[in-house]
Symmetry: C2
Subunit: 386 residues, 2 copies
């Protein structure tokens, strides 16, 4: 039962970075995983593997089944039917970002992304010797808006790649059709490639609709690499399985010529079977998770609208992440340090999300109601002591 989350004591007794990176009196609301364990069918599937204890070579023999499960899930959730032919598994989507940037750009070229942005996007560009080309989302007072009209001004011969994050981490935006169409038109016009990280797509709240970029039409699909994983929505990042879905054989071949498949390593049977099980058998568990996340999102929204109005907040349209503008707090240092030290709450430091992230923190609210209450109350107490 995901809605009955583990207690803090139980969570600390388990392994993993989320509950062990900070001192025991700190409540972790940082790294994007949920305090809900995994669905029972996933647990059972993993136990079946260790009961069988068959640890010989599988190679890529399980990859076609993974590609099938992916295509079926996309069809069911988003009415999008990707090809199963050009699916390449990876250990995680950060590996995908790094290799795709390497494959589709040259050192010194620029890569466009929408800041504030999940820090590995910036790492993937900088650590491969490419240049970050920011296209900033702007807070229009209601939400973070993407200026579709100006995308075409950013892409050019020296900026041949856009890393799209949709739903967007950290703002929780689910980009709408007109925003995506502006991106598609600009990419086509400039012969650019788009990597669309859609890993949070399942976590879209009622009232919003996730549209896979590659579903807009064949022309944009042919230049889009969609990257996704079941590990976010079904909560098993430690099992390490994601995939890249190339929208055309041309794109797939260009990638293969730059990065031979064996350079990626091979994903384990644990990751693949967990993913297939999640997408096939865990819809009930996931619905309960979404109900809990929805309740938590309302709790967070009420809280920032009443008890901590000095912090700017727009309820996310997807994800269990809240992007908090703390610039109105007039803190002596940064808000990440302030909340860690004064509230004993570990958030993600907005400064890591690019220049517009300064003065912000990212809060992960995928936990039980009592822990979430404690997190919010600690934050309020710390601010009120200022």
């Amino acid at each position: 039962m995901p809605t009955v989350a583990f207690s803090a004591v139980e969570l600390r007794a388990r392994s993993g970075r989320k509950w062990h990176r900070y001192a025991d009196d700190v409540l972790p609301a940082w790294i994007a995983e949920m305090d809900f364990g995994v669905a029972e069918p996933v647990e059972r599937a993993m136990r079946r593997l260790t009961d069988e204890a068959s640890y010989g070579y599988e190679g890529s023999t399980l990859y076609p089944a993974l590609a099938e499960a992916f295509a079926t899930h996309m069809q069911e959730r988003f009415g999008w039917q990707p090809s199963t032919e050009h699916v390449v598994p990876v250990a995680d989507l950060v590996q995908a970002l790094f290799t795709l940037v390497s494959a589709f750009t040259q050192r010194g070229q620029g890569v466009m992304l929408h800041t504030p942005i999940y820090p590995p996007f910036l790492d993937a560009v900088r650590q491969t010797g490419r240049g970050v080309v920011e296209h900033r989302l702007s807070d229009d007072g209601r939400r973070f808006a993407l200026d579709g009209a100006s995308v075409r001004d950013v892409l050019n011969q020296d900026v041949p790649l856009l890393l799209l994050c949709n739903p967007h981490n950290p703002t929780g935006r689910v980009f709408e059709r007109d925003e995506l169409e502006a991106i598609a038109a600009a990419a086509i016009e400039h012969d650019a490639i788009v990597v669309a990280d859609e890993v949070h797509a399942d976590l879209t709240y009622t009232g919003h609709r996730h549209i896979p970029l590659a579903s807009l039409g064949p022309e944009i699909a042919a230049r889009t690499v969609t990257i996704t994983s079941a590990t976010k929505a079904y909560n098993f990042p430690g099992l390490r399985c994601g995939l890249m879905s190339f929208g055309s054989s041309d794109l797939r071949e260009r990638f293969r010529a730059a990065i031979p498949d064996r350079m990626l390593g091979i994903v384990t049977r644990f990751g693949i079977e967990a993913t297939i099980t999640a997408w096939r058998d865990c819809g009930g568990w996931f619905d309960e998770v979404m109900a809990q996340l929805h309740a938590n999102r309302e709790r967070v929204a009420r809280f920032f609208a009443s008890e901590l109005r000095t912090i700017g907040f727009h309820a996310p349209e997807a994800t269990y992440l809240a992007w908090l503008d703390c610039s109105g707090l007039q803190l002596p240092g940064g808000p990440y340090e302030f909340f860690l030290e004064q509230a004993r709450v570990a958030l993600n430091d907005g400064a890591d999300f690019g220049p517009p992230g300064r003065g912000h923190v990212r809060l992960n609210f995928a936990t039980s109601a009592p822990i979430l209450d404690e997190i919010l109350e600690r934050m309020a107490r710390a601010v009120h002591h200022l």
Copy 2:
């Protein structure tokens, strides 16, 4: 009990490529894994993980423990104490080969290797756009010899990297000190880098001694990347965990500048905990495996010395692989196809191991005595029907 190997029926009932790639009437003696399952402590460690079902982010938090276990195992087995500082985990050693070739050479440059050679060595060179520069081992009638004197004639500015496989796959040679010193001297003289794949080191038979290349001295260590894994000797390739041990911080930094760590993906807790358990707690199991492999090697040697003398064979000094020279058989086609079709035994095709592999096959004898007998008898019958 590893010495009581599974029956063919049991093996076919398990998952994995070895027993499923070919039709059910074919006995598999190809891919390098053993029909012995894994040690009980490894089974238990894996079951502990699925009992806990804690599948959150670990990131690289377990990497230092893996590096420690590696250094301890190298010290215990080979009297070599590598640094724990410059250890980088990978999913498998083929990923290591591909990334190391990419990092330390330019497209168009040559990479030296000792043919016949494990096919992914050739793939790692060719698929990254580098050139294969062969240094052939020669059959001196007793074993495959490495001509140390000529190594220095092969390395040069355009051939700045040597991929060493020691113990050597497929010939089973364990190179001796003078052979290794010739390699070291040539690499130092030409300012070349050596990647030493020593994954078969544990599988060295009594009477031979594996010497890690990097243990020869600080000068060669500083230019050596040793790659290894517990998955070969402890038989869990499906868990996907290997490592690269850089012999100097300079080498490590050069690699990092070319291939950012996150491009490699992150190894799972399953692979890391299995590896640590294998190296720490499975010596008894491994001794039994070696006793069984030793008996099998004797069986194979007797067989080719008596019943199939037309096939050339030198008993391997390490590994459970027999490299068979079938050029004396005067087959109409290749020996791989002949034994697959006429004997219903699946071997590895020597032609995949580079030009000197033509006319050869590689036989995996890591199976139970009855299955091994059946394999050898089928081969003999097929040859005698010629």
